[in-house]
C-alpha cells in the first residue's frame, strides 16, 4: 500500500543541517499496523509528516498505491491527503479551541468536497464511532478531557474515510486507564474499516501490543525491523537490545530478575552525525571498524532486517 524508499528530510537551520530523516525505507502492507519506535528526536514525527507531505522530501521516494507522490504539487496531493490522514500527539494543541467538536470533524469534509447535506449525518455517525454522543458535537475542546479530545482527533481523521492513518503518539499524553480505551478503539476501527496504521509511540509495550511489525529508528535511520513478536523476543541490533532491556515491566519479580543493558551517554543530536555506524559512540559492542562502516538494513532471515553486521 505504501512504500518508502531511502527517504531523506533535512532541516537547514542557523546552527547547521539537521539530518532528521536520513535514508528511511519500509513497506506498509494493507491492513497491518507498523510500529515506529525510537528515542526522542530520532525522526519519527518528521518521517510521518514527510510521508503526508507536510514536509517536502529532500531525497528518496514515496509510493502510495503504486503512484509516486514524492514530488507532486499540493494540489495533486489533495486526493491522496484524503486517503492518508494523521492523528497528532497532543490532544490539547491539535484542536482549534475556537471550533466546536462538530466543526472540527466537519472541516476535512469541506476541504475534500463532501456534499454538504451528508455532513451532519456523518458527524453523528463519527461521534458515535468514537464513543462520544452527538449532543457533544456542539461543545468546544476545552470542555473535553484529554482522552475525549483524542477521540475528536480520531473522528476528524476518519471523516473522509482514509485508508492509511499515521498515528503520531496518539496515547502518550493520556492516563494509563484511558490509553487502553483509545488503543481498543483504534483496533476496533481497524477491523471494521480495514484501516492501515503507521503507529508512532514511546511506549514500547503498547507498540508490541498493537503492531504487526515494528521498526526501530536511531538518528534518522531504521536500524532494525521485524515482526513484532520476533523483534521483542529476538532483538538483534545492539540498540534494540538496550531499548528492550530498558522497558519498565509492571511486575516486581520479572523486573528484578531482568538484566538491563545500560547505554553510555546521551543521544547525539542530528546536527553532527557520528561517522560510520551512527550508534558507535554508545554501542556496548562497538569495534574500531564501526567508525567507518557503511551500515545498511539487511535481511538476516524471515524478513527480519537489521543494520548491524556484527550480530550472532
Amino acid at each position: 500500500m505504501l512504500s518508502v524508499e531511502n527517504l531523506k528530510k533535512y532541516f537547514y537551520t542557523s546552527n547547521g543541517i539537521v539530518h532528521s530523516v536520513d535514508g528511511v525505507s519500509f513497506n506498509l502492507r494493507k491492513g497491518e499496523t507498523l510500529g515506529l519506535v525510537g528515542e526522542s528526536g530520532c525522526g519519527k514525527t518528521t518521517t510521518g509528516r514527510t510521508i503526508i507531505k507536510l514536509y517536502e522530501p529532500d531525497e528518496g521516494k514515496i509510493i502510495f498505491d503504486n503512484q509516486d507522490i514524492t514530488h507532486i504539487t499540493q494540489n495533486e496531493m489533495l486526493p491522496f491527503r484524503k486517503r492518508i490522514q494523521m492523528i497528532f500527539q497532543d490532544p490539547y494543541a491539535s484542536l482549534n479551541p475556537r471550533m466546536t467538536a462538530g466543526d472540527i470533524v466537519r472541516e476535512p469534509m469541506i476541504i475534500h468536497g463532501i456534499p454538504k447535506d451528508e455532513h451532519d449525518d456523518r458527524i453523528n455517525h463519527l461521534m458515535r464511532l468514537v464513543d462520544l454522543n452527538s449532543e457533544q458535537a456542539g461543545r468546544y475542546p476545552h470542555e473535553f478531557s484529554g482522552g475525549q479530545r483524542q477521540r475528536i482527533g480520531i473522528a476528524r481523521a476518519l471523516a473522509v474515510e482514509p485508508e492509511l492513518i499515521i498515528c503520531d503518539e496518539p496515547i502518550s499524553a493520556l492516563d494509563v486507564s484511558i490509553q487502553a480505551q483509545i488503543v481498543n478503539m483504534l483496533e476496533d476501527l481497524q477491523n471494521q474499516l480495514g484501516l492501515t496504521y503507521l503507529f508512532i509511540a514511546h511506549d514500547l509495550s503498547m507498540v508490541r501490543h498493537i503492531s504487526t511489525r515494528v521498526a526501530v529508528m536511531y538518528l534518522g535511520k531504521i536500524v532494525e525491523l521485524a515482526d513484532s513478536d520476533e523483534l521483542y523476543t529476538n532483538p538483534k541490533h545492539p540498540y534494540t537490545l538496550s531499548l528492550m532491556s530498558s522497558i519498565p515491566i509492571p511486575d516486581p519479580d520479572k523486573s528484578d530478575s531482568r538484566h538491563h543493558i545500560s547505554l553510555k551517554g546521551e543521544i547525539p543530536n542530528a546536527l553532527n552525525l557520528p561517522e560510520g555506524c551512527s550508534f558507535h559512540p554508545r554501542c556496548p559492542k562497538a569495534k574500531p571498524e564501526c567508525r567507518s562502516l557503511d551500515v545498511t538494513l539487511k535481511d538476516i532471515g524471515n524478513g527480519h532486517l537489521c543494520s548491524c553486521p556484527f550480530t550472532e
Partner: protein, 320 residues
C-alpha cells in the same frame, strides 16, 4: 524517635479558583519510613503533586491546607521554618527541569547557591564538582560553567538530582522525574537515584504514572485516585494481591508482558471532577462493583496485613 521520616495525617487541601474550590487532596494518611522508596501512582489530577506541594509548603497562594497534620521526624511541620527545611532536609525534583533551573545562571552558580543558603561547612565549589561527577555530568570542571540550555533533557534531569541531593537531604521527593525522558535515559536516571539512595540512606518518594517504574523501583506503593488513597502496600501486595477495584483495573489496563497481544481491558469512563467530587467513594462512577452505599459514604480503610490496606466498601461487607 520512630522509624518514620514523614507522617501525613488526614490531609485536606484545596485550590481556590474562579470556578470554585478544587478539592485536590481529600483526606490522605500515610507514612514514609526511613531509608525506603515510597512509590505513588495515580492518574493525572489525582492529587499526587498537590499532596507533595503541601508537604513542602509550596501550595501557592491559591492553595490552602484545610486540615490535617504533617510530621517530619516526629515534629509538626507547621511549626517549622520551611526555608531551612526545603533544599536542606527535604528536596524536591520536578517533572520539568526547565521550570526549576534558572536559564540565565550557570549550573555551577545554582548548585553553589543552595550550599551557601544552607551554610554548607566544606568548600562549596569542590562539593558542586563532586555532585556533578556523581550524577555523570562530566567533565565537571567544564560543565559547571555552562547554562541550562546547553544540556540535553536527560542531563538537565541529572543536574536537578545533583541540586536536590547536594545538601544531603533526609527525604527526596521526585515528582515524575523521568516522564519526559526516553526509556534508555529513564533507566539511567532511575539507576542513578537508586544508587544515591542506597549509599546515603535517605528516603525517597517517587511519583509516577508508570506501573513499570513503580514495580522496578518502589519498596512500598500508594495508589491514589480522586484526591484520596485507594490502596497501600508493599510492591508485592499491590502487584500480586491487589484488593481495590481501581488498582485491579489499573493493572489490567496495561499490556500483560506474557500475553502482549491480548485485548486490553480499560477502565471505562473518566476520572472525577474535583470541583464537584463524589460524596462517597471517588471511584464510584467507574467501578464495576459499585454498590448503593458507595455513592454516599466514604469507605473506611481496611487493614489486610501489617503492610497492606485499602479503602473500599467491598472489604467491609466481606468482613461483616
Amino acid at each position: 524517635m520512630s522509624e518514620n521520616i514523614l507522617r501525613v495525617e488526614d490531609l485536606h487541601m484545596s485550590f481556590f479558583t474562579s470556578a470554585g474550590e478544587v478539592k485536590a487532596v481529600g483526606g490522605v494518611t500515610f507514612d514514609v519510613r526511613k531509608g525506603e522508596v515510597l512509590g505513588i501512582v495515580g492518574e493525572s489530577g489525582s492529587g499526587k503533586s498537590a499532596t507533595m506541594l503541601s508537604v513542602m509548603g509550596l501550595q501557592g497562594t491559591s492553595g490552602r491546607i484545610k486540615s490535617g497534620k504533617i510530621m517530619f521526624n516526629d515534629e509538626d511541620m507547621s511549626t517549622m521554618n520551611m526555608n531551612e527545611i526545603r533544599g536542606r532536609k527535604i528536596s524536591m525534583i520536578f517533572q520539568d527541569p526547565m521550570t526549576s533551573l534558572n536559564p540565565v545562571l550557570t549550573i555551577g552558580y545554582q548548585l553553589e547557591e543552595s550550599l551557601r543558603r544552607h551554610k554548607w561547612k566544606g568548600d562549596i565549589h569542590s562539593r558542586a564538582l563532586e555532585m556533578l561527577e556523581r550524577v555523570g555530568v562530566v567533565p565537571a570542571e567544564k560543565r559547571i560553567r555552562q547554562y541550562p540550555h546547553e544540556f540535553s533533557g536527560g542531563q538537565r534531569q541529572r543536574i536537578m538530582i545533583a541540586m536536590a541531593m547536594i545538601c544531603e537531604p533526609e527525604l527526596l521527593i521526585a515528582d515524575e522525574p523521568t516522564t519526559a525522558l526516553d526509556v534508555t535515559v529513564q533507566a539511567q536516571i532511575l539507576d542513578l537515584m537508586k544508587e544515591l539512595q542506597k549509599s546515603s540512606g535517605m528516603s525517597v518518594i517517587l511519583i509516577t504514572h508508570d506501573l513499570g517504574v513503580i514495580a522496578g523501583n518502589a519498596d512500598r506503593v500508594l495508589v491514589m485516585y480522586g484526591g484520596q488513597i485507594m490502596e497501600m502496600g508493599t510492591r508485592r501486595d499491590i502487584f500480586y494481591s491487589s484488593a481495590h477495584p481501581y488498582t485491579k483495573g489499573l493493572l489490567r489496563s496495561v499490556p500483560n508482558p506474557d500475553m502482549p497481544k491480548e485485548r486490553l481491558i480499560p477502565i471505562e469512563g473518566q476520572p472525577p471532577d474535583l470541583l464537584n467530587p463524589p460524596k462517597g467513594c471517588p471511584y464510584v462512577k467507574r467501578c464495576p462493583e459499585a454498590m448503593k452505599i458507595c455513592m454516599n459514604q466514604k469507605p473506611e480503610r481496611i487493614t489486610l496485613s501489617e503492610s497492606h490496606c485499602y479503602s473500599c466498601w467491598l472489604g467491609v461487607k466481606n468482613n461483616a
